[in-house]
Amino acid sequence: MDLKTFLSFEWSIMAPEFIIIGVATLLSIIDLFMGKDKSRRPLGWIGVAGVVLAIISLVGLLDKEATSILHDTFRLDGFGKAFKLIMLVGAGMVLLLAMNYEPKEGMKEYRGEFYYLLLTALLGAMVMTSSGDLITLFVGLELLSISSYILAGLRKKNKLSNESAMKYVINGGISTAFILFGMSYVYGLTGSTNLTEIFTLLSNLQNEKLIYVLAIAFFMIFVGLSFKIATAPFHMWAPDVYQGAPTPVTAFLSIVSKAAGFAIILRVMIIVFGQVSSGNEETPILIFHLQDYIAFLAGATMIIGNTIALRQRNIKRLLAYSSIAQAGYILVAFASLSYFMMDAIWFYLVAYLFMNLGVFAIIQVITDKSGSEDISQFAGLYKRSPLVAVAMGIFILSLAGIPGTAGFIGKLNIFLGAFVTSPAHYVLASIMIATTVVSYFYYFGILTQMFFRPAIDDSKVKLPSGILIVVVLCVIGTIGLGIFPGIALDFLSQFDRFSDFIG
Amino acid sequence: MIENLLNSPPSWLNFGIFFGLATALLMVVLGFVTYGILAERKVMGFMQGRIGPNQTGGSWGLLQTIADVLKLLLKEDTIPKLADRPLFILAPIIAFAPAFMVLATIPFTDKLQFANIGVGLLYYIAVSGITTVGIVTGGWASNNKYALMGGMRAAAQMISYEIPLVMSVIGVILFTGSLNLVDIVEAQENVWYIFLQPVGFLVFFIASIAELNRTPFDLPEAESELVAGFHVEYSGFRWAFFMLAEYVYLFAMAALTTVLFLGGWHPVMFLDFIPGAVWFALKFSFVVFILMWIRYTFPRMRADQLMEFGWKVLLPVALANIFISALIKELFF
């Protein structure tokens, strides 16, 4: 590559990434040379400013045609833009949470690290979302994962934090190995790591044996990626990690990391395996052969997540199982492989972003204040601070999928996808709705605590300004998308069902 | 004839021939070690104003080392009962085998080289790293606090200095465009890399001393504090193999320095009537002498100085050197 080609690339399409990496580097340097006793809070604002800047630059790129640079390794298409938007908004809000995260011990010295590790993790997620090459994809994935490992263990003096990080590393390492193993087979069969090339090469594959190998590769990658989104069979880490990690990190893992996980699943699965012929007359496309297995995993995830959540007393652990279940719902959208798949996943992730982030924002305030994560800390919240309780109630209702909230429309979209295919996925959708009803038990259990039970202490819960911003944004998002889902759906329609996904 | 051999398909016959040749080299190396040790003592004596060994085998003490070896061979071999027996036995072998293996790729002259492999330099660095494992294993298996401390220190030191070492040669690779040692030597036909890469050479040289565990960087076996470091529990021939490994590395490292920076077998200026092998031997001996010289004239460093020097001075310098080299190459070549 000579200088001319190098300069001929449209570097501007990487602007959001550049901004994030620049801010992350800047923050790490500032943090390094800052006095020990100085407050790190301004750094958080720099981080937020960087994320906002990145969002602005991304919005500026919205009209751009799908473009690839760096020999097709980086690709900005509708899919990338849409998912990056979720991640950026999510990370921005998590930063606001992190600035106001004040646990009883073990956080003071590492506040600076928090911000830039969060940004590098975000960078990994973004790179992953718009990569056009297995290697880039993998590097992005690992940038996200490794940053998250450290983030989970950031409270170095805290046992739970250590343990959660350790478990995260072990599980993450195993899943990485699985993904890589699968990818190595894909590479072996095609001799290329470029997604577009793989797409064309594999669609011409006819050899039965090789298709068999490909199916194994598919499973390895899928199982490995299911770790990222915390679905069965790799969900075991989630409760422990969610519980032990600092609350903003938990929020990050459950939102940005999950969105990234789904982004990579769609990228890899649809592009790499989307057109592989199965050698079978009836269902000529391999992925439709494997659909039932994905559906099985989705079903198992929903059942496991929702039933085990029933007996949790720790609020973060409960939310962990809830997020497993929610991932299962989104997986239903993937398993049904319908016309609406991408839209449904995107919309649900947006809804999930608002509702779950809101929940974590309030959880963070409550648990910081009391030092306990037991669900009983929410008792009488309505008496103590009615508005906070109402906001929390809205988020919980949205998670439960009650109409009028974004969560409901998201579920609607998923159902539509599940039913519109032929044959329709009646069983899967039924499991989904049945487990949703099961989830009422624990979601409304939280509401019971907040509204029906007497308060332990009558102290007011006051939201710091940063968290207040997050909560207000999330309420607006949750209710707004519940009542006017057209906003998001119209926004989505400009990508035309991500038709430029495969370039 | 050797050409034909190399071009023939690999077979057991080849294996036998190579084996014979390698044994010959081994003998040479053992000879070097024997007289290297003697030379070291003599040079030491000379520098310290005394005579050194002079009784055994004539007036210069020529048989002194041989006597030492025999003594070691006949010495009773003890393995402490608390030691981890299998590892204890294995450790000297792990330490020695790579030391000998690295010699396979060193080109002594354009003809006299055993294995001309494409990634010779990488091979050298990679294989030599294994020795560290042997040393740590020895320290660990002894189940002795001195030994363990020595082993850990050795490991810390060797890995710390390995980084400047590998970084410093990048300049050389940059100018040659190859990892093949023969290519590297041939690229120095006109000008030696010591002139193009003075900084690289300096870093390399210092790091190589540390890698060899020689004074001023001989912390792992610091007699006065750790008794003898990782091999405190070893005696007899097992101990001898650690020593042997050390001296074979001295040989190898001096050879590598010659190859990388001193133009290998290339003659100085017009003196090309003298065969390459002699030139190589001369340069090689010079390097060995310098190494000995340093050993006797410098005091041992403190542990903290040692580590911080490696990380805070050598590594940044080596990194900077890479870029200056790249820029020079970009601008002037």
């Binding site: 539509l416 519109v420 032929s422 009803v437 009422y440 029906f452 057209g486 | -």
Partner: protein
């Protein structure tokens, strides 16, 4: 089509009250009560206006409202409209809702705490109920349907009696299952037809298969499956025999004003849905299951009656009597002729009025004497002669005394069934007698039985409490004497149903 905002105004008028209440300070109890009451009035006035203008011959179609809401495909199928409209049946139901809501607001004087939250939820509940009847779009219907769930959960769980939380949860879970099943049906229909407009779906389902393009085959099996699912979904709400246990708890534990609304309207949503969707979408299939429905009706009738006979708690008696009376609705539906269906609809409305009256009176008595156990009551006629007298009158209405609404409804329902299935009807008739027995036993015990209680604080009815009683009794008698007030508006709907049934 005229642009009219009347229906929106009607449905969302309680929202105004909610907003106003939000700004009223918690301590001003009197203001809250007045605002809460007044907020129910606009809906009442508007619905009365609609009723009388319809009686005067106005065309209801002019009130239809339709706006694009959101679409899963932009400008294509799979979009959802905001679509309100009424017919005679729903008009009557809206009127009933508005009247009962106003009366329940008056009855809410018995509530003891947290007026503000109570009235906000109360008005939200009213909004939901009004919306359910006005929705012309399945998704909209479902949203309003679920919207009733949440306020009910809180109203029961917070302002109920001793086992309120348990009652709230069982209400939530049963109805959650019901609405989940309903959602599945709605989404399947949506996915297959691409629309959620009720009239459009009716038209598509009515036309023979293959004549109208759909997005998936609607096979006969699917139709039966959907119908059964609908029956289960609405059967839970109604409640039909094996799915009724939640409703007992709610009736016993919820505050009286809420039970008025619950038994008066919420249960009727089940019947409404069954008629509107079950009968409206799948008339053919409904026909072939008529016997089953009639049998279920008879079982409900007898089961409710038997169990009501052995209850100690007056509220339980009324709860089982509700089950029993809902059996009559089913009997009417099972007959599938004009008289039967008209009877069913009459029963829906009549029972709405009667049970509201009964529960109001029970609430009055409970407030004075602190119990509703028949064994501990007795001789109320002496202490509270007026209340006892009204109670007796209401019981008479309930057991179908001629001249009151209950009689008309039961008479027509049985008339219809005797025409079609005389044997089943004969068995069912036993239930009518049972009704008289258990009601008289309970009421006579309470009014004239031996007083077991000292009734220290008992006083007779307050002036304000006369308003609901008079209004309800007046309506009951009006319908009983002059059924035309109902039958005339319903005629058009009945004709449509009969055409759907093929004559």
């Amino acid at each position: 089509m005229n642009e009219s905002y009347l229906l929106s105004l009607l449905v969302f008028s309680p929202l105004l009250g909610i907003i106003l209440l939000a700004f009223v300070p918690k301590v001003q109890e009197q203001t809250i009560k007045i605002v809460g009451f007044l907020a129910t009035v606009p809906a009442l006035l508007l619905s009365l206006f609609l009723y009388f203008s319809y009686r005067a011959g106005a065309d209801l179609a002019q009130y239809t409202e339709k706006y694009n809401w959101f679409g899963f495909i932009k400008d294509g199928p799979f979009s959802v409209e905001y679509d309100l409209g009424i017919n005679g049946f729903s008009l009557v139901m809206i009127l009933l809702t508005a009247i009962l809501s106003t009366l329940a607001a008056i009855a809410s004087i018995h509530i003891k705490k947290e007026w503000k939250g109570y009235f906000m939820l109360f008005l939200l509940l009213e909004l939901g109920m009004l919306g359910v009847f006005a929705a012309e779009n399945l998704i909209l219907f479902f949203i309003f349907f679920e919207l009733t769930l949440i306020p009910m959960f809180f109203l029961i769980g917070k302002w109920g009696y001793f086992e309120k939380e348990k009652a709230a949860f069982s209400f939530l879970i049963y109805n959650g299952i019901g609405s989940a099943i309903l959602l599945i049906v709605i989404m399947i229909l949506f996915a297959k037809t691409g629309t959620t407009k009720i009239s459009a779906i009716t038209a598509i389902l009515a036309s023979p298969q293959g004549t109208v393009p759909t997005f998936g085959a609607i096979t006969t099996e699917l139709r039966y499956g959907l119908l059964i699912a609908l029956m289960v979904a609405f059967g839970i709400k109604l409640p039909i025999f094996p799915l009724h246990s939640w409703m007992l708890r709610v009736h016993v534990q919820a505050p009286p004003a809420i039970v008025m609304l619950h038994s008066g309207i919420l249960l009727k949503i089940g019947a409404f849905g069954l008629i509107r969707f079950g009968l409206g979408f799948f008339p053919e299939e409904f026909k072939s299951m008529a016997v089953l429905i009639a049998i279920l009706g008879v079982i409900n009738l007898l089961y409710g009656a038997f169990l009501a006979f052995i209850q100690d708690d007056f509220k339980m008696v009324l709860a089982y009597s509700s089950i029993s009376h809902m059996g009559i609705v089913l009997i009417g539906l099972g007959s599938l002729n004009e008289a039967g269906i008209q009877g069913a609809i009459f029963q829906v409305i009549s029972h709405g009025l009667i049970s509201a009256l009964m529960f109001f009176l029970i609430g009055v008595i409970y407030e004075r004497v602190g119990t509703s156990m028949i064994g501990r009551l007795g001789g109320l006629a002496k202490v509270m002669p007026i209340a006892a007298g009204f109670l007796l009158t209401a019981a008479m209405a309930s057991l179908g005394l001629p001249g009151m609404s209950g009689f008309v409804a039961e008479f027509m329902a049985f008339l219809g069934l005797f025409k079609e299935m005389p044997i089943i009807a004969a068995v069912g008739a036993i239930g009518i007698i049972m009704t008289a027995v258990y009601l008289l036993r309970a009421v006579l015990n309470v009014t004239y039985g031996k007083p077991n209680n000292t009734y220290e604080n008992a006083f007779d009815m307050r002036p304000i409490e006369f308003v609901p009683v008079f209004v309800l009794l007046g309506l009951i008698v009006l319908i009983g004497v002059y059924p035309n007030v109902l039958s005339q508006p319903l005629q058009l709907v009945l004709d449509t149903i009969m055409i759907g049934l093929g004559g």
